[in-house]
Point group: C2
Amino acid sequence: MSEGNQSIAQTVAAIAEGHLTSRQWVEHCLERIRENEALGIWSHVDEERALARADEMDWMRKDGSAFGSLHGCPIGLKDIIEVKGMPHGCGSPLMGEISKANASLVDALEAAGAVIIGKTETTEFAFLNPARTKNPHSLEHSPGGSSAGSAAAVASGDVPVTIGSQTNGSIIRPASYCGVFAMKPSAGIIPRTGVFEQSPTLDQMGLFATSLEDLGLVVDALSVHDSRDPHSIAAPRPSCFAGAQAEPPMEPNFAIMTLPYSDLQSHACTEGFREVADSLEGRVEILEAPPTFEQLIEAQRTIHLTEAFRAFDSMGFIGNPQLSEVITKMLAEGQSISQGNYEEALIIRDSLTEFFDNFFEDFDAILSPSSSGAAPLLSEGHTGNPIFCTVWTLAGLPSLNLPILQGESGLPIGLQMIGRRRDDARLLRTARWFMTTLFDEGEG
Amino acid sequence: MSEGNQSIAQTVAAIAEGHLTSRQWVEHCLERIRENEALGIWSHVDEERALARADEMDWMRKDGSAFGSLHGCPIGLKDIIEVKGMPHGCGSPLMGEISKANASLVDALEAAGAVIIGKTETTEFAFLNPARTKNPHSLEHSPGGSSAGSAAAVASGDVPVTIGSQTNGSIIRPASYCGVFAMKPSAGIIPRTGVFEQSPTLDQMGLFATSLEDLGLVVDALSVHDSRDPHSIAAPRPSCFAGAQAEPPMEPNFAIMTLPYSDLQSHACTEGFREVADSLEGRVEILEAPPTFEQLIEAQRTIHLTEAFRAFDSMGFIGNPQLSEVITKMLAEGQSISQGNYEEALIIRDSLTEFFDNFFEDFDAILSPSSSGAAPLLSEGHTGNPIFCTVWTLAGLPSLNLPILQGESGLPIGLQMIGRRRDDARLLRTARWFMTTLFDEGEG
């Protein structure tokens, strides 16, 4: 069984060697899901389908003809990702039809031998209106959003890995609040065909797991090219599993950028972050963000809301009374943005991309908080502030949440590590060095 | 340079190590293509695009962020496979529009780092009406069909690997005539989305190369799941590159089935085939094909022509004067087949599948000629008889052409080796054992 701290690769190897069946693994997960029902993590679970699929993978293992990197591994998908035969909920009463086709990332998971358990709760259309999910560390707290169920499903031990999406801070922030590892790879690594579109130039896919190695293994399986997604990279992908296990050729260099919104950090977050920086001693440089960074949050909002308005307009949803007030307001704001302002924001983004193309000559990774602090209370009615993810997502950079800090309440806070675009394997290698050096060696 | 007998994996490794660039490899191929122009192999070559892509792969290699299994490798595609931005010729004046999207197998090749050189000539809509291509071994002879240009492109050394398709005998037969290795993997291994559809339940993709190892390497890159193709397997794929390099756990057993049409074999083909069987001594058993096999050729024709008629009808092509007489006649025959006869043929096929599911308990592979003999003369106006491929394709079994026999004229004839469905890696392993034992060890 995949108890304790076995990696997915180890558990899959146990299946290969006949020490465990996929059915046992899946049954274990289904049991956890039933135990954790009060957390409100799943919008749809198909036990029968998952067990039949597990049996198929077990049969293939006996048969010996083929074995995948995720052979028999249970997995959950944010409910904005289409799975043929499952309801496509998107966290909205406007949706919920049974999908007729798989998202292309689901095809990739199936080719790797994964077992789709079901769909995890999302905020309404992956925006800000909270899902029903509770934080597994504290039932009074939010798991964050929008990938609320995906983050909580890994934190609660329901499944070893889940897929989510991030347009602004929807993977890294909930991972921070839920205390799990997460990765949002470079834009274009994981195809988005068959995923609810919120903002075609900002939406990016990612995943939650309990270790860097698991993130690497699963992102490799998801790293397929689909030219129907205009951002999908028509070229080889970084080898992330290898990256998550590699030694860097020399000790990495880190940068911390003082961002205009760092005053939003909670005291515990600031203190924890400073301790990390101190423990890195000579390996970290603190840089003033260039003045253009001032405009970035606004530029992101301009792009995001303009594109969201267009996406919802094309679905005929504008003005629909079943949309929540928070989305309705955001869409109205998107509608009011002029084409000129939108294009200006795109130009600002282009300059940001150029800036980062050069930046990583000198640094292996940037360090940042993953969120302003620990999870907000559910009673606050929001999913927390994504601002600490905005710039990196806007630039399409790969980023990780490392669950290593703690807030005032004892709830987790994540450290964010950001790498060079399309150099996701190096980011994982750098993060592995960081975790090993600071934690296994007792310096943290 | 990829001269002589370097494998694709070795050449790609040379690129990884900086001993060779993709640009050099691609330029070498483009030069060969120009030298071999009289062979009429290519319907479209885009030099500029290929060189730009090669440069991109060389840049990625320097950059170090990602490296694919086919990094910088030139490849040709049968002109029924859509490549965004290239004309979709299909060997017919009715076609030729610029494709707006990639076939999903092209996406897979691009994710592996391949360089698409262009499109290879096909018979008219992959049927029987010959392409303009000549056999590289003799300009008076046919290269076979329908994957005429793909077989000839490898035989002539234009490119190290090409993709083709087979509905009946359109890969194995031209490979036999052109003296190259070829593989038609199990039905469902390589997705067909974006490939001209002739017969949705019979069409299968495959490839040509100069060694078993190259076939294994490239088929692994093509082994992606695409649920838009209803035959695509939603499960892990066999590891064919590993299979092509593996030792079998014990010496394999072969079967030869005496088929009702073996009297069609040429004398040289019969003699060569007998010599192979003799050299395998106690490792081969000769079996009488079960009586139901009598119906198979007819059942295949019923399914093929019924489905072809429906496919052409859905495109509005029936009765079009730009179709050749040979297609027009076949489509008319397809139209005249009753639904009852079609369904009966499907039932016969189901029983065949069942028969083979059990058959490979006792045997590792079946041996058969790949074609009735050597290539026909171009003046005969046809592409040869596919009958020696019909049964195996109908059953969706993986098959290989091994270029080891010789016809009366000194032209090549292939030996066909057929394996268990979805056990493509074992087939390659068995073929490797066969080639090593019979040829490297001088027994052949």
